[in-house]
Amino acid sequence: MNFFLSFVILAEIFSIAALSTNLLMGIIGIFSVAQAAIMGIGAYTVALLMMSGVPFFVALLAAIVLCAAVNVISSLPSLRLAGDYFIITSFGTQLVATAVFINWQGLTGGASGLFDIPLATIGGWTFATARQFVLLSTLCLVAVAGSFWLLMRSPYGRLLHAIRQDEIAAVAAGRRVLRAKVGVAAVSGAYAGIAGGLYATYISFIDPTSFDIHVSVLVVTMLVVGGARTLSGSIIGPFLLIAVPQLLAMIDLPSTLLGPMRQLVYGLILIAFMVWRPQGIAGRRL
């Protein structure tokens, strides 16, 4: 039961990360492979604040604000660079973030990471076991998915789709495209902050590899498999791909093979979807 619940929790956390990436890549067309870095900033923020005694809720709020700000700043080059060039820029952002996580040892614990991150507690409720934590992660996913749904339904959501399709036409209509992009980057960053914060307090251990380029690519893969631009795609993708290592764990594989096997399966799934179903399971083509 715990095995299944921990799968659900992880899938929910990555659904929130996928929704964050979906806003940038699927909705407004900023192709970023740095979302794991933003998630990592959220995770380290929550971990460090909670370890110095700040309550979970306040730490999470701080992570949300910080990640929103960082995501806006790291997305700014995309306002000037055309799509393909921004991928390179975001790749750089991801590498810089990982380098900071590894080398700022006094703060992040370096390569060995941070451990014994306290349990999440809100108003006397402690989310210690998977059974308890799944309530918290489900609540957060419902809140994030709900806000995503409201965003997409609103005039603002329609404007974001319009900007992706023809930015010049949106400007010619008198829209403040820069402001709209900053807004969506902030919301996307806030989502990533929530995902990172939940991850840190649930796993209770984080290190630089938890948020490296592989994780960013994994989130993009989730989006491709689930289907970009849609709400359901951002949830289906993570649930399917998080199931892969859980299923592999059931097969009797030598532990040295587990990691490479997982990457191999992810790669095969990504290629298969690109070839046979580029729009993903429940979405549209990126």
Binding site: S154, P155, G157, A169, V177
Partner: protein, 255 residues
């Protein structure tokens, strides 16, 4: 009052002179057609007036306000809006959303209200949908509200462009080749539409190639050639000018 005054505008792209010391004044409530051979600078003058390119020298004054250094979206807010020769519709969005996105009303265009004031935003959305639907009705696309722009016929797409530019509430409207590529029926509908816009008090600047259409819609004609404004006058004055006719049609080049 000066309604629209373009003064001494020059624009070069590398060695190519797109606009060469162009000056003209447009009076409100009139339809002015911009004509001239390919490469005359017609679209460039549109781009300068709407802020899509910055002139090297010269000024653009709209309603006594110098708008030369204003951003594109600020000019739209002041009341200058345009269409594009290549339409630039939001192809995946419905006709309704194409218009809705262009409405002058800024309400509901931010993320915070959408997420934290959902009922208010829903009311804004409802109001905007009604407004956009009314505009689609006006241009004769009331029956195509839910259709994605990509699925409309070419004539309908051009009418959708008109609905979009109307949504901005701009009073000076620049139409870049609104009748090009239209079959006879759609062409007549567009000409009627242009007359309707004028009747509603809009001022229009129209790039138009077809001299017969120019005769049907223009109050004034601005004739451009090689980046220079060669003549400005009534359609009859311009068409009876043999020199301009020779430039435009290559007429009389034989001797």
């Amino acid at each position: 009052m000066t309604y629209l005054a373009v003064s001494h505008v020059t624009k070069t792209f590398g060695g190519l002179v797109a606009l060469d010391d162009c000056s003209f004044v447009i009076a409100p409530g009139r339809i002015s057609c911009v004509v001239g051979p390919n490469g005359a600078g017609k679209t460039s003058i549109f781009n300068v007036v709407t802020g899509f390119i910055k002139a090297d020298t010269g000024t653009v004054v709209f309603k006594d306000k110098d708008v030369t250094s204003l951003s594109r979206h600020d000019r739209v807010r002041l009341g200058i809006a345009r269409t594009f020769q290549n339409l630039r519709l939001f192809e995946e969005l419905s006709a309704l959303d194409n218009v809705l996105v262009c409405l002058a009303d800024e309400a509901g265009n931010g993320p915070l209200a959408a997420m934290f004031r959902p009922f208010h935003t829903e009311a804004v959305l409802k109001r905007k949908k009604a407004e956009a639907a009314a505009l689609l009705d006006e241009v004769g696309l009331g029956h195509k509200i839910e259709v994605p722009a990509a699925s409309l016929s070419y004539g309908q797409k051009k009418l959708l462009c008109i609905a979009r530019v109307l949504a901005t509430r701009a009073e000076l409207i620049l139409l870049d080749e609104p009748t090009s590529g239209l079959a006879a029926g759609a062409l007549d509908a567009m000409v009627t539409m242009i007359h309707t816009l004028k009747a509603r008090g809009r001022t229009l600047l129209v790039v138009e190639h077809n001299t017969r259409i120019v005769q049907r819609i223009a109050d004034d004609v601005l004739f451009f050639h090689r980046g220079r404004l060669l003549a400005q006058g009534s359609p009859d004055e311009i068409t009876s000018n043999e020199e301009l006719g020779r430039i435009y049609f290559g007429r009389g080049d034989e001797h």
